[in-house]
Structure formats: structure tokens, C-alpha cells
Amino acid sequence: MKILKRVLGVVLALFVAAMFLFPLLWVVLASFKTKLELLAVPPVFIFQPTLQNYINAFNSDFPMQVRNSLIIAISSTVISIILGSLTAYGFSRYAIKGSDFLQFWILSLRMLPAIAVVVPFYLVFRMLGLLDTHIALILVYCLFNISFAVWVLKGFFDEIPLELEEAAMLDGYSPPQVFLRVALPLARSGLATTAVFCLIQSLNEFLLAVSLTTRVAETAPVGLSKVQTLMGVDWGLLSAASVLFMLPIVIFTIIVRNELVRGMSFGRMK
């Protein structure tokens, strides 16, 4: 009975994993196929791979768009982590008047539907002369990322026993030093989790990017959507570009995977 349960569990897990991984596999395979192989019915799984799609991708605007995406996403993530951790630490450690209200208010920014603010943002940035710049998107993404970072990181700071910080205070560390040398290292799984989510969020964002950029600061998701419309649909190029665009996130996630698992399971520190 017990073994049966285990086997069923594993089968179920494999099934769910396959459901999620199949589209990825499809895209990766498609990126190595020629146009003919791509459209073959039934689909071919064994074929002579070609790099032509990747070469095409590199020769398009795509590398520049990836660069834009990375600049914007990384800047926004770094700023959000810095400001978010400071704010979250403040909420966690100091008695602030109206703390609950303020925290909810900050979180509520995250609930804001992007479509509701596209037009006002467009007008504001046009007035400031920041349309089609990195700064515009960095600022807008910070708005969403910081509120998320504050919310998540507060939970992690709350979990750090106060005694660890008090011990450092008695040892002669000033409050900023306590924050940097005790609280931050102990919250690193929280920082990693937050960073990954902020990064993914910023890299994937489409609506605001398509509205606030035209060419110079165009991000990869916007660029990819244009591949579809302008040249018919070059599925091979689109797949290759998608695979390339996934890589940074995959690499980053692998680097911080240990922290990430701990962070997402909100494992208690011991």
C-alpha cells in the first residue's frame, strides 16, 4: 500500500513535470529545425539539427533587445533589492506608526493592473522626455518590484531571531553594521528568491514595455512579438530567440538554486 502510494506520487509528479516541460522541449527542438521540419505532420523528433535559426537571431535586432532587457531588468532588480530590503528591515525591526496600513499600501501597488496606468505613465514620461529610454522602464518596474520585495523580505527578516542582532549590538556593531553583517547574510535565501522573481517579472513584462518604448530601449518580449507580425511567422527564429532569452534566467536560477529552494519553502533558520 505504502509502495503503491509512493509509485503513484512519482508518476503524478512526472506527469505534471512533463506537462510543464513539453512546451519547453518543443521550443528547444523547434529552434534547431528547418522551416520544413517545423511544419511537418506528424512532428519529427529526430532530425539533423541546424544552427541557422540562431545565426538569424544574432543578425537581427534581437541581441540589442536582449541587452536592453538585461540592463532594465538587472538595474530594476538591484534597486528593488536595495530599497526593498531597507524598507522591509525597517518594518520588521522598528515600531512604526500605522505600520500595517503602510505595508498594505505598499503591497497594493503590486495589485495595480498595468493597463490602468499605461496611459498616465506614457503621458508622464513624454513630459519628462524619457520615452523609449532604459530609465523609464527601470523606474516603472521598480514600482512593482519594490512593493513585492518589501512584502517578501519582511517575512524573512521577521524570522531572524532578534537575539542574533542584539548580540551584535552588544559587541559594538552600529545599527547599519548589524543590518549589513547580520541581518542581510541571514536573509540571503530571501534575497535570492526576491531577486529571481523580480528579474523574471521584469524580463517578461510586455504591456508597459510595448507602450513606453519604440526602438532604442525596446525589450526582447516586445521585439519577439514583432517578429511574428512583420515577416509572417518565422517560427524557427522565434524559437531560437526564445531559447536564448530563457538562458539568463536559467543560469541565474541554477546559481542561486540552493537559496531558492530554502527561500521558497520559507524554511526556518536553524
Partner: protein
């Protein structure tokens, strides 16, 4: 030299009066134990001394200097926390070095101090381990080492033995005592365990509800508790309390209740001299000061054995006296017989160790 002085120290947590204007002096090199049940204000007092909590009123003097306005790190105080407060991401060596960095100690001296501390605590082999790789006893030694390496003027310990198992607790208790006597660092030690307090303290401060109930040496606290609370808190099993009324016969003073009438002798009787006839009192006697006899004797009170709790060399007897339950603790050999449940036995209070408390004020009658 470090003499700690608390003057009218007061602390509130919201609407709770955690510490109510207490005064206390801890002499240089003394180990002072703050003892009391949870919520008595002992930890709040410690946290005010450390500087984590600002007193609502009053002042703390260390070496005659007021320190309550200082940042914790500027007070030259070290503390061992109940949870040890070890950093999961630092090795033992890094824990030892950590307090020396803000003090700007030169590098070669850091090395030397780490070695000294490791020697002292016998931790050389463990210097490169992380807290999760240490036993709880070793973790505690790290916490002590980190506190000592800075050579603080004042050493604070917050229930440091709580997380240890019984065996290790007794061993570490002796180690702590030895260490404190070797180093003669003025120490404030917080615990709710009266056995620990008795074993460690030069001075015990019994606290309850934010007040200091009594300050004294372990012997004083045990032999002359100032009131019902202290008397009941110190000693295992706790002191027996029996309600009775004072009556003056022609030649002797008698304590009477529905179960017995006990004539009391000169030293004890003298304490009742100023009291009116019929005064309501509480008689207090520790289990170890009750003699249990198998045969009736002059002045002995008949009771019945209700429960027997054999200890290694002693026997704790729960004796039924009407609706009262009295605990007695006697050496098995001195007892002279093997009591059985339901057996009729006679008890005698050792009058030199009998305490009388005023039932209204709960204060002990003097002397």
C-alpha cells in the same frame, strides 16, 4: 573593578508594569542571580542593563558611571543568550573574532585572544566548525567564548542552561561557577530554576511581579525567607503552608487548627509576643524539616501516608492530615522504618526551622 548599581529602575511593556522601581547593587566580582517565575521582570531587568530596553525611569551605574543613555555596544557588557544567538553562517573562529572587529584590536592580538579563549574553553579542535555541527553543550561554550573574548566589565547570562539536558546542565553549572570564580567578572545571571540559583549565586535576588522580594545569600534566602512567596519559591519540594490560629494558654503559646494544636517553644514563641490572641497565621515548614515516626510520641501529629515518592537516598512522603496534604522528605536510613501507603505515621516539626507568616501581609514574623 566593576560595580553594578540599579537605582529606581522602572520598565513598562505597554500596560504591563514589568519592573517596578527596583534598587540593586552587585559588587565587583560578584555573581548575582535574578530568580523568579516567568513574567517576574528578571529578563526585563537584564535587557535594561544590556541596553536593549530603555528604562521608563531610573538609572544604571557601572563603575559609578551612568550608562542607561549609552548604546549597548558602548557599555562594555557581554551577554550569553538563552538561545546562544550563534550565527549559522559563521564558524566558531569567526564567532570569536566577530566582537573584536569593532573594538579595533590589532591582528596579532586577535590571534592570541582566539587561542587563549579556545584554550580556556577547550575548543581548539572545533574552531572551524559551524554551529550546526556542534552539540548543544559546545554551542554554549561558543556563546560563552564570544562573550568573554572581549574581556567585558560585566557579564550577563540569560537562562544559559535551559536548552541543555539534565546531565549536561549539572556539568555546565559547575563549569560556569568555576569560570566565574577564576575570572572574577561581575556577573548577573537570570534563571527561574531555584536549584541553579542556589548552586551558582553569591547573591540571590528573588523577583515577583516586577518587585524585588528578597536579596540575600543562598543560605539566607533558604533559612530566612522574607515572605510567603520567597518561602514557597525556594526549595524542592516546596515548603508546606498550614493555616492556624495563635492561642495563648497559661504557660505556653499554641498554634491551633482543626487538625492539631501545636505548642511552640521559646525562640519561635518570642516572635509572636506582640501579636494578639486569635491572630491568623500561616505555619511554614520545609519537607526536609519534618521528622516522620512510626510510633506515637509526645507532641507528634498523627497522619496517614498517601503517596510515596522514593528518591535515590531519600523518601518524599505525601501525608494526609484531614483535608491537608503535607510533604515530608527524609533520609531513608534515618527514617528507621519502611513506610507503606495507608500506614499511620506521626510527624514532628523541627521548631528551629519552622516559619510563621502573617496571613494578611504574607510577611514572615521576624527573628
Amino acid at each position: 573593578m566593576a560595580r553594578l548599581e540599579l537605582e529606581q529602575l522602572d520598565c513598562w511593556y505597554g500596560k504591563t508594569h514589568a519592573v517596578d522601581h527596583i534598587d540593586l547593587v552587585v559588587e565587583d566580582g560578584e555573581l548575582c542571580v535574578l530568580l523568579g517565575p516567568s513574567g517576574c521582570g528578571k529578563t526585563s531587568t537584564l535587557r535594561m542593563i544590556a541596553g536593549f530596553v530603555q528604562p521608563a525611569a531610573g538609572e544604571i551605574y557601572l563603575d559609578g558611571q551612568p550608562i542607561s543613555h549609552l548604546y549597548p555596544g558602548d557599555r562594555n557588557i557581554a551577554m550569553v543568550f538563552q538561545s546562544y544567538a550563534l550565527y549559522p553562517h559563521k564558524t566558531v573562529r569567526e564567532h570569536f573574532i566577530f566582537p573584536l572587529i569593532p573594538a579595533k584590536i590589532p591582528k596579532h592580538e586577535i590571534e592570541q585572544r582566539v587561542n587563549e579563549t579556545a584554550d580556556f574553553l577547550d575548543m581548539h579542535d572545533l574552531l572551524d566548525r559551524y554551529p550546526s555541527e556542534l552539540s548543544s553543550g559546545q554551542q554554549q561554550r561558543v556563546a560563552i567564548g564570544r562573550a568573554l573574548i572581549r574581556r567585558p566589565q560585566l557579564f550577563l547570562l540569560d537562562e544559559p542552561l535551559n536548552n541543555l539536558d539534565e546531565h549536561l546542565r549539572v556539568e555546565m553549572r559547575a563549569n560556569l561557577r568555576k569560570m566565574q570564580q577564576d575570572l572574577r567578572i561581575t556577573t548577573v545571571y537570570v534563571t527561574h530554576d531555584q536549584v541553579e540559583a542556589q548552586a551558582l549565586g553569591d547573591k540571590i535576588v528573588v523577583m515577583d511581579m516586577g518587585h524585588i522580594r528578597q536579596v540575600g545569600s543562598p543560605q539566607e534566602i533558604y533559612l530566612h525567607p522574607s515572605d510567603l512567596f520567597v518561602a514557597g519559591f525556594i526549595g524542592t519540594p516546596p515548603m508546606n503552608f498550614i493555616n492556624c490560629r495563635l492561642e495563648r494558654g497559661e504557660s505556653q503559646v499554641v498554634l491551633r487548627n482543626t487538625h492539631f494544636s501545636l505548642p511552640i517553644q521559646a525562640p519561635l514563641a518570642a516572635r509572636t509576643e506582640s501579636l494578639a490572641e486569635g491572630k491568623e497565621l500561616i505555619l511554614g515548614v520545609r519537607p526536609e524539616h519534618i521528622r516522620v515516626k512510626s510510633q506515637p510520641e509526645e507532641g507528634a501529629i498523627p497522619t496517614e501516608v498517601y503517596v510515596l515518592e522514593p528518591q535515590s537516598n531519600e523518601l518524599i512522603l505525601d501525608l494526609k492530615l484531614g483535608d491537608l496534604m503535607i510533604k515530608a522528605r527524609d533520609d531513608k536510613r534515618e527514617l528507621g522504618f519502611r513506610p507503606e501507603v495507608g500506614q499511620r505515621v506521626w510527624i514532628e516539626f523541627l521548631q528551629d526551622y519552622v516559619h510563621l507568616f502573617d496571613r494578611e501581609t504574607e510577611q514572615r514574623l521576624g527573628g
